[in-house]
Symmetry: D2
Subunit: 180 residues, 4 copies
């Protein structure tokens, strides 16, 4: 079982990149094969059918599609933009969904979300489920929103507080047990 982990955000200091890396670290300690990627390394234009018809898929789209295709499961930590899925993540889905074979089909996905505020990106996670489920992804019912994420991570990237650390650990166990 290979697990592909990334964040639904581009900025370098993204809290969700930190959350994704920490989830990956915990998964590795449990003996899973994990690959962490950064969507910044897979820059793609805003989806436009005319681009697909004219130029075909960019190498970033096909390369990301191959990463997804090889993975058994995905863990995505995503911010909430305006109570909903970030455009950057939706754009990735729009492009990947055009590939044939469609790499997202039948994948297992665990959604995480970090936010500096009190709600922990929870509204956005529910909105983010929809396009993945529409492409045939098995989105794990339980998700984790990390609130006050601006101060949640220690220097070494681990979660400072025991409660969210245990929640993440338990959730990753549940998820990998379900997928396995």
């Amino acid at each position: 079982m290979t697990i592909l982990v990334f964040a639904g955000s581009l900025r370098k200091e993204s809290l969700n990149k930190k959350f994704a890396r920490e989830a990956a670290r915990v998964l590795k300690t449990k003996g899973h094969a994990v690959e962490v990627i950064d969507l910044r390394d897979y820059a793609m234009p805003v989806f436009d059918q005319d681009i697909q018809d004219g130029e075909g898929f960019s190498t970033s789209v096909t390369a990301l599609g191959e990463k997804v295709a090889k993975a058994t499961a995905l863990v995505i930590a995503t911010p909430e933009y305006n109570g909903s899925i970030p455009g950057v993540l939706k754009n990735v889905i729009d492009w990947l969904s055009r590939l044939n074979p469609m790499p997202l089909a039948d994948k297992h996905l665990l959604l995480l979300g970090a936010s500096p505020g009190a709600l922990g990106a929870v509204r956005g996670l529910w909105h983010t489920r929809v396009p993945f489920e529409a492409t045939g992804v098995h989105v794990f019912p339980t998700m984790m929103g990390l609130s006050a994420a601006g101060s949640a991570f220690a220097e070494d990237g681990t979660l400072k507080e025991e409660r969210p650390a245990k929640q993440l650990d338990g959730l990753l166990d549940q998820f990998t047990k379900h997928v396995g």
Copy 2:
């Protein structure tokens, strides 16, 4: 009352561009001031906080923001990509929501959706409501999904069949009466 009309799609032959133009035409016959724009003329990068912090807003973002700010109401015809809001439209919301003052706040919005299939983009319209409502937009409760849109438009851009034509006409009346 000025009504800004556009499609949530980039491609030139977009069915939703046709639907948007037809809605604009009908609104004009009713005496409303209407402006139709094409998101292709407002190309913007995928949202990235680092771009906003480093380079600020592109002229496309500020120009679109001004168009929205001047309008009393918006009519957006949007396709459904993977049962949900297109990345291109979500990306526009992500950028506009960062402007200050935020041009979407308190605007009235009517959502239309055209699709070649039988469901008329209806699933996607419900998903599309969420980010707009999260930014304070009054999304009109009734929406219109146009099914079999590939053959719905005559050469002159009008709707061939009486039933959808009447539905659009009545919905635009309801919407403008509510906004006015």
Copy 3:
């Protein structure tokens, strides 16, 4: 303008009944005509088309329908049950939607939600919007989730903390200004 206020919960000590009553009190201090009702006084069976066809509408359904019909706007404070609309509130919508004329059409609605936990019923509020919007209700885009509601109210029913009290006050002003 008459505003009908109630909670989407039946139990006597419901936090959302407290929240509804407090919203009503604030609205009265602003000079609005307000009526607070309790769904416990409008007991209705679980919706079943056979009951409607056989026995017609119960007096609770027609009486509640009349209350809604007379109101200009509704304020509903609703708990979140399983991340979503409570069955009791959905059941009320199902019954009211069968009345002719349909009393919910074109009403304005403000949704509030109280919960003992940290998320303040916010997930449930977004799920609750959908059936109201499907019946033609103008659901106000901004909503208010009150977290830690078990300790939020003073003996006299007012909100203890200044921050949520101000939030409620400002939101009610925005809502009534929009409706008026």
Copy 4:
């Protein structure tokens, strides 16, 4: 693997009861152990915490909870009321979610929906996913909406048209393969 099948509707001539029975028949021909129940036989009051605290769970709630607990998977055919989950089905979830152990946790669920109209209850199915997922149910990503259901079934209960019959057959294969 035992599959529990029922409809999210009470009325005797419910199209969704027909759809549920047909799904059950097809599952049996594939060799699965199937039980079909009718929510009419599990009448329960509208959920009220005071009832739970005072009288405890009715026998209908505990009996339905046991049926769910014994099943490996559920297939529910549900109508769409006002673009959303029927109150009767939400009420069942609200009651079952209070049982301890909670019988819905980790169950697999396939959602079907029949409607007399063109949209096949599809909007409602997406809304119905949410409370199930919030209780830890693995809702199968693909769902099936049956449009024009008033004329879809033959005298013997089978689907008249080849296309929906094949769609149902294939979807049930996918679902049981995934669960198995």
